[in-house]
């Protein structure tokens, strides 16, 4: 077994672990010109900078709420879609549908946000339709704070659900068809078959994916949020990534960027370790 593991291990050591030594710049005032050695040590200064503004509490709340909304809705969506696709009995139809639902994944956020804006802006398509069919006044969807987070989740669902079904479909491909036949012989209907055979087959995969997802809980996808942010929704929409952006991270402040990254990673680590323990307690397999 060691032979199998060795090449990969070498890769991890060289290209992942050695660079991690460089993460020390989070504790220095790193200057690209001075380099690692000669940049002065500043201890926790950059970490403190994250928290120096009372606004950061709201920002962290926004970040966590958005993340949990994503996990609650955008995480299960591909499972549902995968099960639905799995139940299609005509192979050609199944393949065509699959190909189509994968498409949005390939668009960049610039394009996706642009598309949603075309639909939802005050003179956009949806409002034009409402005006034409129902005579309603135009609704400024994009200006409403209460809709902001749900809209972000909806966008992610639209963009990523199709693509995310792949992993579940691959897991479902490994299910023994004899199990289904036996269940039908026992008189089980469609839904019961899904509940007792299909879902348990992907259970371990779902658990692993969920644990991994928790590791990135403080990540919300900077590009998407940044493109969608506007003054009206700033209070509910400013998340950690955009908050630190406005603190000048763009000005190549690598020390600060690394400090924020470390902070996020530590929080992620705590959640992953916790979730892993929980998974094992419930009789499953954790990651380690």
């Amino acid at each position: 077994m060691y032979a199998f593991v060795l090449p990969g291990l070498l890769y991890f050591l060289i290209y992942k672990y050695v660079p991690l030594i460089g993460a020390v710049i989070a504790f220095k005032d790193y200057s690209v010109f001075r380099g690692f050695q000669n940049s002065p040590w500043v201890g926790w200064k950059h970490f403190e900078r994250i928290f120096d503004n009372p606004e950061v509490i709201q920002v962290l709340i926004n970040t966590l709420v958005l993340s949990f909304l994503q996990i609650a809705f955008a995480f299960p969506a591909p499972i549902l879609l995968a099960v639905m696709l799995n139940e299609v009995r005509w192979e050609w139809l199944k393949r065509s549908l699959q190909s189509i639902v994968y498409l949005p994944h390939f668009l960049s956020w610039v394009v996706v946000v642009g598309l949603f804006t075309i639909f939802l802006r005050s003179e956009g398509l949806i409002n034009n339709m409402f005006g034409l069919w129902f005579g309603l006044d135009s609704i400024p969807f994009l200006q409403m704070p209460s809709l902001f987070k749900p809209l972000l989740v909806l966008e992610v669902i639209w963009k990523e659900t199709g693509w995310s079904t792949i992993i579940f479909l691959a897991a479902l491909a490994g299910v023994n068809p004899e199990l289904y036949e036996a269940a039908v012989a026992d008189g089980a209907g469609r839904l019961r078959r899904i509940w007792h055979i299909t879902l348990p087959a992907i259970r371990s995969t779902v658990v692993i994916l969920l644990i991994l997802r928790l590791g990135t809980v403080l990540d919300n996808g900077f590009e998407q949020v940044f493109l969608m942010l506007n003054p009206y929704v700033m209070d509910v929409g400013n998340v950690l990534d955009t908050y630190v952006y406005y603190k000048g991270i763009e000005q190549s402040n690598f020390s600060f960027a690394t400090a924020v990254g470390l902070f996020k990673s530590v929080v992620g680590l705590i959640l992953v370790v916790g979730a892993n323990q929980l998974a094992k307690k419930f009789g499953g397999e954790g990651i380690y």
Partner: protein
């Protein structure tokens, strides 16, 4: 012959209806992109949302394809995607299999991998390692630093763990060594997984732009997404203000849409070839008694 009850048929009908609605919702923005890419500037300005070109204009495509830089970048991306994906799978599959069976030191090792999933060093230290190992400005810089994705490794390992012990035990009883077990038992059963992760790696190579930007100094070695970014992002207020170009104005929206389609299409083409590996019944008949 399976008995199809009425409820079964109802289920089918509803299921397919919902799936069709979903598919339509996910597809028709592409019609928009397609239409804009074949439209004139005037048609684009006049119509908020084109679903079909009013007048077919191929200027955008001629602008992009006429520039041999675009073709070159497609070639770069293709080479990196094919070669890179093969190496990705080679390294990931072996390590994932290695970590899927218990042995001394396995738990710390998998935790190590998990750790790299959570903790990243940042672009400067990574760049320095890439430089020190002599990869800058070679295509290897787009392959080796991303040889194994921790996420892919962890999930693939899970697939291997899900292969029943009875199968590997049966092979061991027959006197096979780990390599033989790997090639004749594990691999054939993992076709869906291999196809899946192969696709993930391939798409990740095809879509990557930041590594290309950072590690490639020579524009002739830029992968396609770097070029695409150059075309699409130019619509910046600052950029427009200071342009003093003597030639064509920076690319218009029509060109951006064409660029998006052109960069996406190649990867969409390989997908159907991989689909057959997702077929059911792979485990059929493998466990006897």
């Amino acid at each position: 012959m399976l008995y199809r009850s009425v409820t079964d048929r109802c289920f089918d009908a509803v299921n397919i209806l919902l799936l069709l609605v979903t598919a339509v919702l996910m597809f028709f923005p592409f019609l928009y992109i397609f239409s804009v890419s074949f439209s004139s500037m005037r048609d684009f300005l006049e119509n908020e949302f084109l679903l079909w070109p009013k007048e077919w204009v191929t200027d955008a495509y001629r602008y992009i394809l006429g520039n041999n830089r675009f073709i070159r970048s497609i070639w770069v991306s293709a080479v990196v995607t094919v070669g890179g994906t093969f190496l990705n799978l080679l390294f990931t599959v072996t390590m994932a299999y290695g970590l899927s069976r218990p042995f001394f030191g396995q738990r710390p090792l998998i935790f190590m991998v998990l750790f790299t999933f959570l903790f990243h060093a940042g672009i400067i230290p990574t760049y320095l390692i890439v430089k020190e190992t002599g990869l800058i400005d070679t295509l290897w810089a787009l392959i080796i630093p991303v040889l194994i994705s921790p996420w892919n490794l962890i999930v693939m390992r899970q697939f291997f763990r899900n292969i029943p012990e009875e199968l590997t035990e049966a092979a061991t009883v027959d006197g096979a060594n780990p390599f033989k077990i790997f090639s004749s038992v594990i691999l054939p059963l993992s076709k869906p997984a291999l196809a899946t992760f192969g696709l993930f790696y391939a798409v990740s190579h095809w879509n990557s732009y930041f590594t290309g930007l950072l590690y490639m100094n020579n524009p002739s070695k830029w992968p396609v997404q770097v070029l695409l970014r150059q075309i699409v992002i130019v619509n910046d207020n600052t950029a427009l203000l200071e342009q003093q170009g003597y030639v064509q104005a920076p690319p218009a929206e029509t060109i951006q849409m064409a660029a998006i389609l052109l960069a996406t299409v190649p990867i969409l083409i390989i997908y159907p070839f991989l689909q057959k590996h997702f077929a059911k019944g792979v485990m059929l008949g493998s466990v006897k008694g």
